[in-house]
Amino acid sequence: MDSINIIGMVSVITAGLTTAIGSIGPSLGEGRAVAQALASIAQQPDETNSITRTLFVGLAMIESTAIYCFVVSMILLFANPFWDYVVKKAGG
C-alpha cells in the first residue's frame, strides 16, 4: 500500500474513533449534571433560575471537550494537512 492509501484510511478511521470515544465521557458527565440539577430543582423550586443558569454554564464547559474531539475529527476529514501534502506531492 502506498502512503496515500494509508493516510486516507488512518484519517477516516481516526476521525470516527475520535468522535466516538470523545463523546462518551462528556455525555456521561452531562447526564449526571442534568439529573442532579433536576433533583435540585424538584427539591428547591425557588432556586430554579440560578440552578438553570449554572447548569447551562456547566454544560457548556463539559460539552467543550466533546467539541474539541469533533473539531479534531472535522480537521482530519476535511482539512487534513498530511492528505493535502501527499496529494500535492503526487500531483507534482
Binding site: 427539591q43 440560578s50 443558569r53 454554564v57 467543550s64 480537521i75 482539512a79
Partner: protein, 244 residues
C-alpha cells in the same frame, strides 16, 4: 457553503488582485450593519408615555433582560458591563439566528471570528479588573494562594480564551456542517429538523458566550465585593440550612 469548505473563510465572494473579500468578512459587516440600523430605527422616537412603539418595547425587554442577568451573575451594577457583554450577546445571537436566511453562512462558524471575540474577552478581563481594583490589586490575584500558582493561573487565563473560541466555533460549524452533509444524503425533510436544532444551539451558545464572558470579568473584579457579600449573606445561609 459546500461540504469541503470547513469555514466560510475559504468561500471567496469577490477578488481583485491582492484584495479579496471572503464570506466571513461580508456577513460580519452585514450583521453589524443590521444591528446598527435596527437599533437606530428603534431608538429614533423613544417615548416615556403609556403607548410604546413595538420596537421600543422589544429594545426595552432586551436591555432589561441583559441588565438583570448581569446583575444576577456579578452582583454589581450592570451599567459598566452592559455595553461589552450585551454587544457580544447581540452580535453572536443575530449572526447565529440569521442562518435561516438562505445563502447565509454564520460568520461565527469561522475560527477567526470566534478567536477575535475571545481575544476581546481576554483583553476586557484585565481592563475591568484594573479599573475596579487597581493595577496591583488585579495582578495580585495571579499569585493567590501562593507564588507557585503563577504559571497555572496564567495558563488558565490563556486556555479559557482558547476554549471560548473553539466552543463557539465547534458548535456553529457543526450545525452548518451537519446540514450540508444531510442535504447530500437525505435532502427532503431531515435537514430542516437539524436546522431548527441549530437555531436553538446558536441562541444557547450566544447566551453561554456572554455569560462566560461576564463570569470571567466578574472573577477578575470580585475580591472586595465578595467579602462584603459574604458578610451580608452569612446569617441567611445559617437560617436556611435546617430546611434543606
Amino acid at each position: 457553503m459546500d461540504i469541503k469548505a470547513i469555514s466560510p473563510d475559504q468561500v471567496m465572494i469577490w477578488q481583485w488582485g491582492p484584495i479579496s473579500l471572503n464570506a466571513t468578512i461580508m456577513f460580519t459587516w452585514m450583521v453589524m450593519g443590521l444591528l446598527v440600523l435596527v437599533s437606530w430605527l428603534a431608538t429614533r422616537r423613544l417615548s416615556s408615555e403609556v403607548g410604546l412603539s413595538r420596537w421600543q418595547n422589544l429594545m426595552e425587554i432586551l436591555v432589561k433582560g441583559m441588565r438583570d442577568q448581569i446583575r444576577d451573575i456579578s452582583h454589581q451594577e450592570p451599567a459598566m458591563y452592559l455595553p461589552f457583554v450585551g454587544t457580544l450577546f447581540l452580535f453572536i445571537a443575530v449572526s447565529n439566528l440569521l442562518s435561516i436566511v438562505p445563502g447565509y453562512t454564520p460568520p461565527t462558524s469561522s475560527l477567526s471570528t470566534t478567536a477575535a471575540l475571545a481575544i476581546c474577552v481576554f483583553v476586557a478581563v484585565p481592563f475591568y479588573g484594573i479599573r475596579n481594583r487597581g493595577l496591583l490589586g488585579y495582578f495580585k490575584q495571579f499569585i493567590q494562594p501562593t507564588v507557585f500558582m503563577l504559571p497555572f493561573n496564567v495558563m488558565g487565563e490563556l486556555s479559557r480564551t482558547l476554549a471560548l473560541a473553539v466552543r463557539l466555533f465547534g458548535n456553529i460549524m457543526s450545525g452548518t456542517k451537519i446540514v450540508a452533509i444531510l442535504l447530500a444524503i437525505a435532502p427532503l425533510f431531515f435537514p430542516i429538523i437539524m436546522h431548527a436544532l441549530g437555531l436553538l444551539t446558536g441562541l444557547i451558545q450566544a447566551y453561554i458566550f456572554a455569560i462566560l464572558a461576564m463570569v470571567y470579568i466578574a472573577s477578575g473584579t470580585r475580591a472586595h465585593q465578595e467579602r462584603q457579600q459574604r458578610q451580608e449573606e452569612k446569617p441567611e445561609e445559617k437560617g436556611e440550612k435546617p430546611h434543606g
